[in-house]
Each structure stands twice: as C-alpha cells, then as structure tokens.
Amino acid sequence: MTDPKPLKIAIASGKGGTGKTTLSTNLAAYIAEQHEVVLVDLDVEEPNSGLFFKGELIHEEAIFKMIPQWDEKKCTLCGICTKVCNYHAVIQLGPSILVFPELCHSCYACSELCPAAALPMIPKKTGMLRDFQTGKLHFVDGRLDIGEEQAVPLISKTKKYVAHKYGHVSIAIFDSPPGTSCPVMEATKDADFVILVTEPTPFGLHDLSLAVETMRALHKPFGVVVNRYGIGNDEVITYCREENIPVLAKIPNNRKIAELYSSGKLMYQDFPEIKKSLSQILEYCVKEAKGGRA
C-alpha cells in the first residue's frame, strides 16, 4: 500500500441482492481500522452503502447533465437534429421540435450539427453527490433523482470527484450497480481489480457467467466471492474451477448476518472467520492489481 497510485477495487455482480453492499461496507470499514480508505457508492439508482455509516457530511453538490433546449425562433425545421439522434430524444412533430431529457445521452450531436444553432445545450440536474467522513473512512455517494433514466453521467462525475479529491488515498472501493449494462461498465472500467459477488444458486450462476463475460470483454482482472455459501448447490464453485476463476472467499449463509445487515450494522467484527476472509480478499486484490500494473 505504498504505491503512489491508489488501488481501485470495484465490487460488482451480475445478479442483484447477492451482497455487493455487504462486502463493500465491511471491507471498507475493515481497511479503515488502519488505513485511510474511500468507499464510493456508484449504485446511483439505489445507493444504500450510506445506511451503514454515521459520518459527518463534508461536501454536497448537485450533478448536472447537458441537454439541448429548442430555440423556436432560430429553428428552420430542417430535421437534421432528429436524424442524428440515436436515442430518439429529439423528435420533430410538424412545426415543433420535442426534446425528451431523460432519453438524452448528452452526445451534443443535435446541438453541434444544427445549422441554425437552435439547440443550445443547457445543464439539467440529474442527481446529488454527497461526501461523508468517519475516522479514516471517506464515503462518497451518488444519488440519481427520481424519474431520471441515465445513470452513467452521474457515475462518471462521482468517479471524477473521487479521483480529484481523494487521489492521495491508497485504496478506493467502488460499490457498483448490478447487471451488465452501461452503468456497470462505467463503474468498473477504471478499476484495477473487480470482485464479483454471487450466491450459489442457479440464478446466481447464470448472472455471474454474464458478469464474467463482461469483465473479460473489459480485460479486467477479477475474482469471485461466494456469499450465502451453504444454500443452493455447488455449481458456482464448479463453474469457477472450470473457468479458472479464483474464488477469493466464501461467506457462510447465516441468519445473524442478515439480521445485522437489515438493521444497518456491519458484521465482520462479530465473525472472526469473515474478518480473516476480508484480509485475504484485500491481500489478493493488492497482489493482483500490482501484478497487472507491472
């Protein structure tokens, strides 16, 4: 942990509800016992890591994305804007141009290619970023406004904030959204190492295999943590062995863990074997990420 470049660990999963937040919050708190660490909740559609920490709010800002605004007076109704928009966020209905801000990906094509400069880009608030501190733990959370569909711009801006403000902190943990779509790729693409959390069930395996394909396409080093180990079957373990994917830890299925989680409490202090697992996971990430850089 003497590397001047911070180690970025993303915690992702194919399936939702497998334990990304459980692992992110416990791992971050475990590291913060000794080292400065930043935990970033990039699951901006439903951020919940913050429920586990009572920190002091040290910064808060609104996050904006740029969208076109139609200037009726300048518009010549040539229709170029509607043809260049891949997302059908700008449509022409006779003498009107309609902009659908939630569909807009802020690519600027309509605005830049408008010969009459009738679609200037304006900022639209899409969410909030908040930064808390408790002890050696910095916690940053992106939160998308209700009704907003585009998570990527907020994820990207939250990451930029962290890189700028906490570039000196040696470890950053990114709690990523579930799935394998654009928000997941945005949340994991700069990571030095990705931990995929799964559960040993047919659903868990199915979605894990999609997440594995995604991480391979992104050329990310990754490993698997099996949560709720003991339920379901051993197909996830067999799959990992056949695919040569390292299993970094198995967190046992335990009612007490679920009870602690559902009351917003961390659990690793109560389970020495889980504390040991966290230490092994961290050691593995540090080793792999450094190997990847050499």
Binding site: Y87, L93, L103
Partner: protein, 112 residues
C-alpha cells in the same frame, strides 16, 4: 377517418400488438377507401432506448385520426402523442384488429 392499430401482423385477423413503441407493425385502415395498409416498425428492435418517441414520430407522419393499441403508450410517447392531440384507445390486448375495430365502433374500448 384513418384508424391506426399497433399490430403483430398485417391483416384484419392479426392480433393487436400490446406494445406501442416496439410494435411490430402499424396498420392503417382508411374508412373512406376501405383500404388496409401496413407500415413495418420492426427496425426499432435495434434501439435500446427511445422506441416510444420514434414510433410516436411515425404515427405523426402517418397522420391517423385515431390510434388503437394494447398496453397504451409509455410516458415519453404519451407526451408526444398528446402534443399532436392524438385520440388513443387502449386495452385492446388479445383482440384481433377486426374485433378491436368493432369494439371501438361500439364504444367498448377505453379512451386514454
């Protein structure tokens, strides 16, 4: 009057496509000429987003007086269709075009 249907096929016996934005076809019935014509809408399959607004734009260009569909348009499409003051009759799920049209004529379809 021109009636537009979201349709799985191209004939009176085709089923109403319950989806608005991602309907396979838009079938237009011209009550004056008694003609049934079909516009293929399957290209929207390649669009991850914005199928609703794209199909709404197509409806505008086809310029029907009435739209008969299934689940009803989503929020963005509804906004576009409202802008062009389209009369929309929905909940024609599981009906053929013929049945849906008859229900519309007899006032048995819900206007959105």
């Amino acid at each position: 009057m021109k009636i537009a249907f979201t349709s799985e096929g191209t004939t009176w016996d085709s089923l109403i496509d319950p989806r608005f934005g991602r309907t396979e076809n838009i079938v237009i019935y011209n009550e004056e000429s008694k003609e049934l014509t079909t516009v293929d809408n399957s290209a929207v399959k390649n669009d991850a987003h914005g199928a609703g607004t794209a199909t709404a734009q197509k409806i505008f260009e086809l310029n029907p007086d009435v739209l008969i569909t299934g689940n009803g348009p989503g929020e963005n499409a509804a906004k576009a269709l409202k802008h062009i003051k389209m009369r929309i009759f929905a909940e024609a799920n599981n009906l053929t075009l013929r049945q849906a049209y008859n229900n519309y004529l007899s006032g048995n379809l819900k206007e959105v």
